[in-house]
């Protein structure tokens, strides 16, 4: 398994799409931090408390833009496995390791690490922004770091588990475009509708579960600033387990269905 993991990491490191995704994570985090932190807004337009620039809780809100990394981690997980079908490298992968379940499992583990890297990039950019803002006279570095710790651990956990969920989606759906549309479409469209319609069910869906993870360390007054509120969310540990279960169950299902299919 160690060799398979080494191979998977090498595959990730040696294609431009990985670096583009990390670049996008960095660029989006940076750009959104500036927009959220500095673009003037009518405070009556926001439904939650939005602290004044540099005030207590301001960094909490600005750092919450790191959640964009979660979708990118999902994308990375999806392309890790569907890219093999797209470029037909799955043939050489299965020739090297014919036990297909092992291949899928190694991708799942690699995705956990890759998700953490995506979160680390978003975190690094947020810290750069934070230190820049502190240097500009907005609060102290101590408060900035405290508020960073409110947000990043939850985002990192969600990134790690969403990358694994992405591998699961790729394992079961095989086609890259379909897996991305289903993964991102479900997060952006289907799940919010289900949450609104049947909250008791919707709260177990991936994006809501991820939000439970993100919220675990956030200050109560800024939790859910950009989400649908928090009262319906599951607890963080339930969320972590459920999200991990999504990834594992989908990979297991894929191992017995699509991954068993003939490679022609």
């Amino acid at each position: 398994m160690t060799r398979l993991l080494r191979s998977e990491v090498l595959k990730l490191r040696t294609v431009w799409s990985t670096w583009v995704l990390l670049g996008v994570a960095a660029a989006l985090t940076g750009a959104l931090s500036v927009v959220i932190g500095f673009v003037p807004r009518n405070r009556h337009d926001v439904s939650v408390v939005f602290p004044a620039r540099g005030a207590v809780g301001w960094y909490d809100v600005v750092f919450s833009v790191m959640t964009v990394a979660i979708d990118l981690a999902l994308v990375l997980g999806v392309i890790m496995i569907t890219g093999e079908n797209r470029h037909k490298t799955i043939t050489s992968t299965f020739l090297a390791q014919p036990r297909r379940g092992w291949v899928a499992t190694s991708k799942l583990f690699t995705a956990l690490g890759a998700g953490l890297v995506v979160a680390a990039v978003a975190g690094a950019v947020s810290l750069i922004f934070g230190y820049g803002a502190v240097a500009g006279g907005l609060g102290s570095s101590g408060r900035m770091l405290t508020e960073f710790r409110h947000v990043w651990p939850g985002v990192a956990a969600a990134c790690v588990l969403f990358a694994a969920y992405g591998v699961g989606l790729g394992a079961i759906l095989k086609n890259q475009v379909v897996a991305l549309v289903v993964g991102l479409g479900a997060t952006a469209i289907v799940e919010p509708i289900l949450v609104a319609a049947v909250p008791s069910v919707g709260r177990w869906l991936p994006s809501e579960v991820a939000q439970a993870l993100e919220s675990v360390t956030a200050r109560p007054e800024v939790r859910g600033a950009f989400g649908s509120g928090l009262s319906h969310l599951v607890t963080w540990w339930e969320g972590a387990l459920v999200l991990l279960a999504y990834g594992v169950a989908l990979v297991a299902a894929g191992s017995f269905t699509t991954l068993r299919a003939d490679v022609t």
């Binding site: 060799r3 090498l10 040696t14 431009w16 299965f94 020739l95 014919p98 490679v263 022609t264």
Partner: protein
């Protein structure tokens, strides 16, 4: 001892019977051509050998084991397949390194096989910019990573220029001389004939014939002309033996046979020979005949009736 064995192998894709009760063995130190027209079932058979396609029934074994049970598949079998792909943005060297890592094969070996197939100078280039011939060489390099004793190559000459094909021939011969088992598929007998020792001919998923290429080559001299004062008697004798024979004056033309067979008939019956000539039939024509169900030459075996198995002489 390295070997390939296929036993009663059958593959059905929905209503299409791609491979039908196929059996053969390939032994060490030979290059065996796996021949048949497009759609004959060659690639499907090779993919079943390599664990990529699940047989509907029967077994495909390498060194006595199904591919997925081999402890170190890359060190046992090297395969070149037509439709395997490359990430276009990954360099050739990194492509090989990623595959090699699965079996703990070193980067030094990666560089060795790149050198072996003549790609060292282009190793750091993205595969997306490779020609078809370079991709084929890269596939061959991947197959050789584990220094395997069994090589399974699906149409390896595709995309190679004449120089590349000549190089491939020498390379395959060298591999066989090293005592490896080489099974190479092709839809062109004339091309394969320059490389292989034995041939297995497949048609519509079934064995159309198998045996040493020399036997097939001997059988390719198919029309025998004999000038004899006993033309009428010889025509009758050959016809009685199942050979298509036609008399034109004092000349008998026997088609679909060999000089040996005609000569033996004449000797057995004391037929006087004034002149005997043979005219050649191309290997390609013979290949076409075989895949059309025509009788095969002596020494070249056609399949046993359904329900029985057949095997290459070892």
């Amino acid at each position: 001892m390295a070997s390939i064995a296929v036993e009663g192998l059958t593959k059905r894709f929905g209503s299409v019977l791609a491979v039908d009760d196929l059996s053969f063995t390939v032994q060490q130190g030979t290059v065996t051509g796996f021949l048949g027209p497009n759609g004959a079932g060659k690639t499907t058979t090779l993919r079943m050998l390599l664990g990529l396609v699940r047989p509907s029934s029967g077994r495909a074994l390498v060194n006595g084991s199904p591919y997925h049970d081999l402890p170190d598949p890359m060190r046992t079998v090297g395969a070149v397949l037509e439709s395997s792909g490359f990430h276009p943005a990954r360099s050739a060297r990194n492509h090989l390194r990623a595959v090699a890592a699965v079996d703990g094969i070193s980067d030094e070996r990666v560089d060795e096989v790149l050198e072996l197939v003549g790609l060292s100078a282009d190793a750091e280039r993205h595969v997306g910019g490779y020609s078809m011939g370079m991709r084929q060489r890269l596939e061959l390099a991947r197959a050789l990573l584990g220094d395997p004793e069994v090589l399974i190559l699906d149409e390896p000459a595709n995309g190679l220029d004449p120089q590349g094909i000549a190089w491939l021939r020498g390379f395959l011969r060298w591999l066989a001389e090293e005592g490896r088992v080489v099974l190479i598929s092709s839809h062109l007998l004339a091309e394969a004939a320059q490389t292989v020792d034995d041939v297995i001919v497949l048609n519509h998923g079934r064995m159309a014939g198998h045996g040493p290429l020399d036997e097939l080559r001997r059988g390719a001299t198919a029309t025998v002309r004999v000038r004899t004062p006993d033309a009428e008697r010889l025509t009758a004798l050959l016809s009685a033996a199942g050979t298509k024979a036609v008399r034109v004056g004092d000349v008998v033309e026997a088609a679909g046979t060999t000089p040996e067979a005609v000569g033996r008939t004449m000797a057995d019956h004391g037929v006087v020979v004034l002149e005997m000539t043979t005219s050649g039939e191309s290997l390609e024509q013979l290949f076409f005949d075989l895949t059309s169900g025509a009788p095969s030459p002596d020494g070249f075996t056609q399949p046993a009736p359904a329900g029985t198995t057949s095997g290459m002489p070892s």
